[in-house]
């Protein structure tokens, strides 16, 4: 009964799958060839090799780097290491893995860490340091960071007086996506204060539209976009100083300042007149994935979507992301035009080995040379490295984000939920925010998060 008689149909199916497998196998071989051929053009920008000579002869040595940055953002990373490889003769082995955040801890604990890890949260840096496997950054890196970064950045990875990792890339979260053509057609202007933002939202409502679209679903991280909203509004309705106290738990999570910020966010996200453009009512925010929510801007069903600079990658190929294009972003304004709080995030390079080649490569990554090399190669990437020449940022959204990051009047603050203890920052804050969106009141929400804070 079960395949004793091999029917012609069975054979055809079998032949089909087998030949498809064969085709892929051949494609695999073909792919390898073309990969090795494209090395030449990347190292076009030659760099000054002098800073790396003092690490001795590291020719033929290998440095492994482990990150959560995968396709397609990994290609510019790998390309940007080429000048260093040409200089020193060392090889950089790049390993991208989406489960980086859990796996790097497993590997550190088991004694199998990579040489370098690109860690996206200060909280995780702390956890890695507590495994005892991370090593402090060399003096050269520390000097580079003093020279090229705002000193707030150095503090994020300084643990018990030791400095563990230089910042690498950064992203700006205080952005609102909009459609420049819609703004032009309807005579809207980009707001420069929070009041203007509110007025603009009301105007869109008066014109018969739903101004905002939002989505917070993100698998087991559902709720994180709300935390960004709240952080942005703590910075705006209170002050960066209050924000620092809040993140470090010097004021409780249910302090009046934080409730005020929640309510201010609620004025947008829990306002049936404002949301959820093209997607449904307030509750649809909780079930829409963060990747999909802003796409309604392209269809004209939604006018405003608050999301970080990386959201640019979400629009399908062929969408023009520019000030005169299909979609672009503006800076989520401060309380008034003179204050410019910026919420952002970034990555840090943490080392688990102090061999000369690892130190040399760390030094390269913390330099202005690397920042500029990387900026030339990639799109959708910025850094807070002050050595970055803005002219090297190629696409408009990077220019915008880079301009905001390097603006001397801007007050940068790192994403708070990434710095809070994991029980809050990647658990209670997310879950309670989701409950808050679906109807829970502000007081219960902040009280519950405060209760979850580890004593």
């Amino acid at each position: 009964m079960f395949g004793h008689t091999k029917s012609p149909r069975f054979r055809a199916a079998l032949a089909g799958t087998l030949s498809a497998g064969l085709v892929f196998g051949l494609a695999a071989c073909g792919g390898d060839d073309s990969d090795s051929g494209s090395d030449a053009d990347a190292s076009a920008s030659a760099i000054d090799c002098a800073p790396y000579t003092k690490f001795g002869d590291i020719k033929g040595k290998t440095v492994t780097i482990y990150t959560g940055i995968v396709t397609p953002e990994d290609t510019p990373h790998i390309e940007s290491y080429k000048p260093f490889e040409t200089c020193t003769g060392a090889t950089i082995k790049y390993e991208g893995d989406k489960s980086f955040e859990t796996q790097v801890l497993v590997r550190a604990r088991a004694g199998n860490p990579p040489d370098l890890a690109i860690v996206p949260q200060p909280g995780l840096v702390k956890q890695l340091v507590s495994t005892g496997k991370a090593v402090a950054a060399p003096q050269e890196v520390s000097d580079n960071v003093d020279k090229f970064w705002d000193k707030a950045w150095k503090a994020y990875t300084t643990i018990d007086g030791k400095f563990y990792g230089a910042p690498l890339g950064a992203s700006v979260k205080s952005l609102v996506w909009y459609s420049p053509s819609e703004f032009k057609d309807k005579g809207y202007t980009v707001p420069t204060t929070l009041d203007e933002l509110k007025a603009l939202s009301d105007k869109i409502v008066a014109d018969g539209g739903k101004p905002w679209c939002a989505g917070i679903a993100s698998g087991d991280a559902t709720g994180w976009p709300v935390t960004d909203w709240v952080e942005d509004f703590v910075l705006r309705t209170s002050s960066p100083e209050t924000y620092d106290k809040w993140v470090n738990h010097e004021i409780p999570f249910n302090a009046p300042e934080i409730s005020t910020a929640f309510d201010a966010v609620g004025g947008y996200l829990k306002n049936d007149a404002y949301v959820n453009g093209g997607l449904g009512d307030v509750k649809s925010i909780a079930t829409t994935t963060f990747q999909d929510a802003g796409l309604k801007i392209l269809e004209g069903q939604c006018s405003l979507h608050r999301q970080a600079s990386f959201y640019a990658a979400n629009f399908e190929k062929g969408t023009k992301v520019a000030e005169d294009g299909d979609v672009f972003a503006f800076y989520l304004p401060g309380k008034d035009a003179s204050t410019k709080p910026v919420l952002g995030a970034g990555e840090f390079v943490v080392a688990f080995a102090d061999r000369p080649e690892v130190k040399a490569f760390q030094t390269y990554l913390s330099s202005d040379v690397w920042a500029n090399t990387k900026a030339k190669l990639s799109s959708g990437w910025v850094t807070a490295n002050k050595g970055l020449d803005q002219a090297n940022l190629t696409n408009p959204i990077d220019k915008l984000a880079g301009g905001i990051l390097l603006d001397p009047n801007a007050t940068f603050r790192f994403d708070g939920s990434d710095m809070m203890p994991a029980a809050v920052g990647s658990d209670a804050f997310w879950k309670q925010s989701t409950a808050w969106i679906t109807g829970q009141d502000t007081k219960t929400t902040v009280d519950n998060i405060e209760k979850a804070w580890p004593k």
């Binding site: 799958t17 494609a27 995968v70 390993e95 489960s99 199998n112």
Partner: protein, 303 residues
């Protein structure tokens, strides 16, 4: 051919209907067939939706459900060309070979060890046999997750990380308890007379194993082989933990997980990626499906 149904076969004498006969009759009734069809359709529907999705353009996938395909059919092969690494990105094809290199030894190693030890447990009398067998049987209870870090520590200390050995050894280790149990039960069912006859003819354990047992064991071995192959091919957790070392040892599942991009912005490629990685399991299933069903019963029927 007219009104009354002609009685072509005389009604069977109804005295002796075996249990199998009753089961057969009930299972082939139209109602059972309808139920089977309904279940089959329900279970295939998500996969079918995935297949349809894999041929839709990015914008459509991201904004509408796959069923809208029928009212507005637009197809594209772009998703497939993207998972094969056109214009950079991931090339799943390159990881096919890795997955095969991981799978084949991960099936053969536990299979050979389990066959030998199952023979020992079934037909060689030695002190402590029952206790030892019970311990191996009990090992099935241990969830493999608790062993991940200790095992990785061992691999680090013997310096084989970043090679295929970590995956082969760990998959083999995780498979052995069930494999030994399954094959042991199968071997116990073989009549003792057969082995005694071989012994009378002057065969030792080695020739009994190779000349008497192995030919009889084929269906059980094949069944275990299929299970193990599918398990290893579809495994992500073990690969994530032990395959640390870059693209040289990463299986296709790892790349599939990375396919959607750093922030999940390219999730529209997942349906195409899933269908690419499904090819090998489907082939294996088609080739060996008759063993599959027989294997499901292996070890469960005791004489």
């Amino acid at each position: 051919m007219s009104t009354a149904t002609p009685v072509t076969t005389p009604p069977l004498k109804a005295e002796k209907i075996s249990t199998a006969g009753v089961a057969k009759k009930r299972l082939s009734s139209p109602w059972a067939s309808i139920a089977a069809i309904v279940i089959a359709v329900l279970w295939t529907l998500p996969t079918f939706g995935l297949l349809v999705s894999s041929f839709r353009p990015e914008r459509e996938i991201k904004t509408t459900g796959w069923w809208t395909f029928f009212s507005d059919p637009t197809t594209t092969f772009e998703n497939y060309s993207k998972v094969f690494g056109e214009e950079g990105g991931v090339n799943l094809a390159a990881f096919f070979v890795n997955s095969l290199i991981i799978c084949i030894p991960s099936v053969l190693i536990p299979m050979s060890i389990a066959a030998l030890s199952a023979y020992a447990f079934a037909w060689i009398k030695f002190p402590g046999r029952n206790v030892l067998f019970l311990m191996i049987f009990a090992l099935q209870i241990v969830p493999l997750q608790v062993t991940l870090i200790p095992l990785l520590k061992i691999f680090v200390s013997i310096d084989i990380t970043g090679t295929f050995w970590t995956l082969w050894l760990s998959h083999a280790t995780f498979a052995l308890p069930l494999a030994i149990y399954l094959l042991h039960n199968f071997m116990r069912e073989i009549p003792a007379g057969l082995i005694e006859a071989a012994r009378v003819d002057g065969a030792g354990h080695v020739s009994i194993f190779f000349k008497v047992m192995l030919p009889l064991l084929t269906p059980a071995l094949a069944a275990f082989g299929i299970f193990q192959f599918l398990w290893v091919w579809n495994d992500l957790l073990v690969a994530l933990v032990f395959a640390g070392g870059g693209d040289e040892v990463a299986p296709i599942t790892l790349q599939l997980a990375n396919l959607s991009g750093t922030r999940g912005t390219a999730w529209h490629l997942l349906s195409a990626g899933a269908f690419v990685s499904i090819i090998v399991p489907v082939t294996v299933f088609l080739l060996l499906q008759r063993y599959f069903v027989r294997g499901l019963l292996a070890g469960s029927v005791k004489g």
